[in-house]
């Protein structure tokens, strides 16, 4: 009984030897040390790197400077950030619309089928990213499968150029992150109390009004969290623009990649990485505040 009432309390005997928190700390120590050594310290290191100067031939000159962060507002790089934000934003928007529709359809399916449907929707997300991207090269290139298909159907004109376009990059991003969005949208939809929607309909609201006024507001926070991740993963991507964009598009990810592997300007690359992290944290904070506010309003609206 005692255990049920205080689920986190530890067995008497152990408690006498060491307090639960000491033991908990000991248990966590190895993992936390690992994360500190190989995540916190390296990330701190690149934050610091952002304030140094690039040596003439790459390498790092240890003089303090703010010029890397100043470069970020340079029209060229600011322009690249905006373009990649636009591409990532479009990809996120499309992924959210399709993903929400799919999650809604899954949540509306008979209950016993939902786990399988969800599993199938999410499965591609865990297969190799490069392979999933490569599949689109096979489909979209000028002499690729779609062109072949069109020819078989009797199309004789000049094959359209589908690969190496912004559309191809966006398609690749949507394709890769869609399962993630479906998952993020499904959770709140599945938790949704069907009686609410019913009540709304009973009160004479149309299906669309019910959706817009009842279902959508209650599921938005979950979707927003999913959207933030898709946006950040897209804007920091370098593989999809390289493979499907033919090098014609630069995302923040390509820029970071280039600073480290081609331009050898590590300090600037470090500064861009910090901007990427800042964007992510900023968006997540906004999402969390919005979600909290939404939850508060909902409590007022439904609990009374």
């Amino acid at each position: 009984m005692r255990g049920h009432l205080a689920p986190h309390r530890f067995p008497e005997k152990t408690r006498r030897v060491q307090s639960p928190n000491t033991r908990s700390t000991l248990l966590m120590a190895p993992a936390l040390m690992w994360l500190t050594a190989l995540m916190v310290v390296p990330c701190g290191l690149i934050l610091a790197l952002g304030f140094f100067r690039r040596g003439l031939y790459g390498g790092i000159e240890y003089t303090f400077t703010l010029e890397n962060f100043a470069l970020i507002v340079d029209p060229l790089y600011a322009g690249i950030f905006l373009t990649s934000a636009r591409i990532a934003g479009l990809a996120t928007l499309i992924a959210v619309v399709i993903g929400y529709a799919a999650a809604y359809a899954i949540a509306a399916a008979p209950r016993h089928r939902q786990p399988l449907l969800l599993f199938l929707a999410v499965l591609p997300f865990w297969s190799n990213y490069l392979i999933r991207t490569y599949a689109w090269i096979v489909l979209l290139n000028r002499e690729g499968l779609i062109t072949q298909g069109l020819r078989m159907l009797g199309y004789e004109g000049e094959p359209p150029s589908m690969l190496y376009t912004e559309g191809a990059v966006i398609t690749g991003l949507v394709y890769n992150y869609l399962p993630f969005v479906i998952l993020a949208c499904y959770a709140p939809l599945a938790r949704l109390n069907p009686e609410l929607a019913e009540a709304s309909r009973d009160l004479g609201a149309s299906a669309f009004t019910t959706f817009r006024r009842v279902i959508l507001p209650m599921t938005v926070p979950g979707i927003a969290a999913g959207a933030v991740f898709v946006f950040v993963l897209s804007i920091g991507n370098f593989i999809t623009p390289a493979l499907l964009g033919g090098g014609r598009f630069q995302m923040m990810g390509n820029l970071i990649y280039a600073q480290f592997l081609t331009a050898n300007d590590w300090p600037f690359g470090a500064a861009i990485s910090m901007v990427l992290i800042a964007i992510m944290m900023g968006l997540l904070t906004i999402q969390a505040i919005a979600a909290e506010k939404g939850a508060g309003e909902r409590r007022e609206g439904t609990d009374g």
Binding site: G58, N141, E143, S161, G247, Q250, N254, A258, T262
Partner: protein, 349 residues
């Protein structure tokens, strides 16, 4: 090279991992572009010299430079890089001076190849292949035949959307410099800006930036006119005789791909042995036959069959004509401006 059984290798890797010591250094590590050496060259060298050697690949100069600068050259013995990058490595003090006594086959190099502007006397780099950059095109699909760099940058209607440009900093900008009649090593910011604008304009009619698969795009018909290194165009010619190579009227660059020995190498004698092995007339000729690039080795080139030059006309280009072109050099601090210009070009919509 005998492969140790898998369990042993796993155990060895484990051990290496535990002591964080990296792979055993006995094996000579040679990094080259993929497919830029006869496939059997390393194995033959190993048999002949008794040195264990492994070939690893890099996709671009920049990629291997990133790795070399990050690691201080650790883990590599012989690296193949283009001459401007060899100059940078040398300035960074990462290269071992070439010990001519250990590479007697240096005598096989053309006189021109021993007096290249970037490294007269081959003190830190040994030329492996050389050539020029130009236009590679499907003569059955492109008419009239291209004549100028402008035909690449501003192609006729029929070619629009079917041209590719080399995407690495130096060659991408070289196309613009040459079209404008400037030096391929231009460092004047105003001229660089002009070329940047020119290349941004060229993007509108371009299919993609491509450094690795342009010739297969020509073969499949995905592209009809591409910016190419002469030797790599030959790969296309080998698959489709309608593919041709030409040097635009404004001229072109001389590029030299070199072999360098890392100062961090733990087996420098082995590294020199390898370079000497490659410079052997028979081996260097075998390399040329395999990679279809000109090599700066006099007896090797002279031993090639006349068919080669007939099938691949650019193989017949004389060293004197080649060195008359301006060699790509390290541009020092301007490389930052180059990188920025290339970023701007690639980002432009």
């Amino acid at each position: 090279m005998p492969q140790s059984p898998a369990p042993l290798r796993i155990a060895a890797t484990l051990a290496a991992g535990l002591v964080a010591a990296g792979p055993a250094a006995a094996e000579l590590v040679i990094s080259n572009w993929d497919g830029y050496m006869a496939p059997d060259a390393v194995a033959n060298f190993a048999t002949e010299s008794g040195e264990a050697a492994e070939m690893v690949v890099h996709a671009t100069n920049e990629e291997i430079m990133g790795k070399l600068i990050a690691s201080g050259g650790q883990g590599y013995d012989v690296v193949f890089v283009s001459s401007p990058f060899a100059e940078v490595l040398n300035n960074l003090d990462l290269l071992e001076p070439i010990d001519a006594a250990k590479v007697p086959n240096l005598a096989n190099l053309y006189a021109e190849a021993a007096a290249l502007p970037h490294d007269p006397g081959n003190t830190f780099s040994v030329p492996y292949a050389w050539g020029t950059t130009g236009l590679c095109y499907r003569s059955d699909l492109v008419s009239p035949e291209p004549a100028s760099w402008h035909d690449l940058l501003h192609p006729a209607e029929a070619q629009a959307g079917k041209v590719t440009l080399l995407g690495t900093d130096r060659w991408l900008l070289a196309a613009g410099f040459l079209a404008k009649g400037y030096s391929v090593n231009e460092t004047d910011q105003a001229k660089l800006d002009e070329v940047e604008a020119e290349l941004i304009e060229a993007k509108k009619t371009m299919l993609a930036f491509d450094d690795t698969t342009f010739y297969s795009k020509l073969v499949s018909g995905e592209a009809t006119l591409v910016h190419a290194w002469d030797g790599w165009c030959n790969y296309g010619i080998a698959e489709n005789p309608d593919i041709k190579f030409m040097i635009p009227s404004e001229g072109s660059d001389l590029w030299v791909d070199t072999m360098v020995v890392m100062k961090a190498s733990e087996n420098k004698d082995g590294a020199f042995k390898f370079i000497n092995y490659i410079l052997d007339a028979k081996n260097h000729a075998w390399a040329a036959e395999n990679i279809l690039y000109k090599v700066p080795n006099k007896p090797a080139m002279e031993s090639l069959s006349a068919d080669m030059a007939a099938t691949y006309p650019n193989m017949g280009m004389a060293p004197a004509d080649l060195v008359a072109l301006e060699q790509l050099r390290d541009v020092g601090d301007a490389s930052r401006a180059y990188a920025k210009a290339v970023s701007a070009i690639k980002a432009a919509q």
